[in-house]
C-alpha cells in the first residue's frame, strides 16, 4: 500500500499503483458518504508510441519539485471546484508495459466537478510536474520523450 495523503494529496512512488488504487477506492467510498460522483483516471504504459513498438519504459523524476508542483496542482483544483477528495499518484522508475503510470481519484458532491477536476489535475501534471519518460523500442533504439513545452 502506497502512503498517500488523504483526502487531498499527491505522491510519487516506485511501487505498483493498482493495489493501492483498488484499496483506496473501497476505503474512500466508505468514509465519504457526501460524495455523489467519483471520476478516476488511469494513465497506462502503452505498447506503442507514434507507430513504434515500445518494449520498455522508465520515468525519471526531480522529486523535490515534482512533489511541490503535484501538491500545488491538486490543492488548486480542490479549492477551485470545492472537491472533498482528490488524490494523485505518479509512478517512477521502470514501469512494465500495461501497468499504471499515473492514477487520479476525484470525488465531488456532483459529477460535473469530479469530471472537471480529474481532467484538470492530469492536464496540469502533464504540463508542470518534472517527470521524464525514457522509452526503448522494438528496433533497438531508445529516446527521451519530449513533452509539449509550456
Amino acid at each position: 500500500m502506497i502512503d498517500v495523503p488523504q483526502p487531498v494529496g499527491f505522491t510519487i512512488t516506485e511501487e505498483r499503483i493498482l493495489p493501492t488504487a483498488l484499496r483506496l477506492s473501497e476505503q474512500i467510498i466508505a468514509e465519504h458518504p457526501e460524495i455523489g460522483g467519483v471520476v478516476t483516471f488511469e494513465g497506462r504504459v502503452r505498447n506503442h508510441h507514434k507507430g513504434r513498438t515500445v518494449t520498455a519504459l522508465e520515468y525519471s523524476v526531480y522529486r523535490d519539485l515534482a512533489i511541490r508542483e503535484g501538491e500545488r496542482i491538486v490543492r488548486a483544483t480542490v479549492e477551485r471546484l470545492e472537491l472533498p477528495v482528490a488524490i494523485a499518484i505518479h509512478r517512477v522508475g521502470a514501469v512494465p508495459i500495461g501497468e499504471m503510470a499515473v492514477w487520479i481519484y476525484v470525488g465531488g458532491a456532483h459529477r460535473q466537478a469530479a469530471f472537471e477536476g480529474c481532467r484538470e489535475i492530469i492536464d496540469e501534471i502533464k504540463r508542470h510536474v518534472p517527470i521524464w519518460k525514457h522509452e526503448w523500442y522494438g528496433d533497438g533504439s531508445d529516446e527521451w520523450v519530449l513533452g509539449n513545452p509550456q
Binding site: 525519471s60 501534471i125 518534472p130 517527470i131 519530449l146 513533452g147 509550456q150
Partner: protein, 81 residues
C-alpha cells in the same frame, strides 16, 4: 559563490553527470547564463526556449537572482502522466 547544478533525464545523459558544483565570479549571474555556459561546456542541444529553470526545488524565471549554495536545475519539456 558556488552553486550546484543538477541534471535530469536527457540533460543528465548529455552532460554525463547528475550534478556539478560551479564557482561563479559574476554576482549577477542568472540561470540563463548558467544554462548557456552548460550548453557550451557539455554540448547540450536543447534550445533554452523550451527549457525551464528551477532554484531550490521551485520554478523560477530565467533572470532570477542566484545565491551562494543554491541548487539550480534545468527542466526539459516534461513527459510524465
Amino acid at each position: 559563490m558556488t552553486v550546484t547544478i543538477r541534471y535530469f533525464a536527457m540533460l543528465r545523459q548529455t552532460a554525463g553527470r547528475d550534478h556539478e558544483v560551479i564557482t561563479l565570479t559574476d554576482p549577477d549571474a542568472s540561470p540563463s547564463q548558467l544554462y548557456d555556459d552548460a550548453v557550451a561546456r557539455h554540448g547540450i542541444n536543447l534550445d533554452r526556449s523550451i527549457v525551464r529553470a528551477a532554484i531550490n526545488g521551485r520554478y523560477v524565471s530565467w533572470d532570477s537572482p542566484i545565491s551562494d549554495g543554491d541548487e539550480v536545475v534545468f527542466i526539459p519539456p516534461v513527459s510524465g502522466g
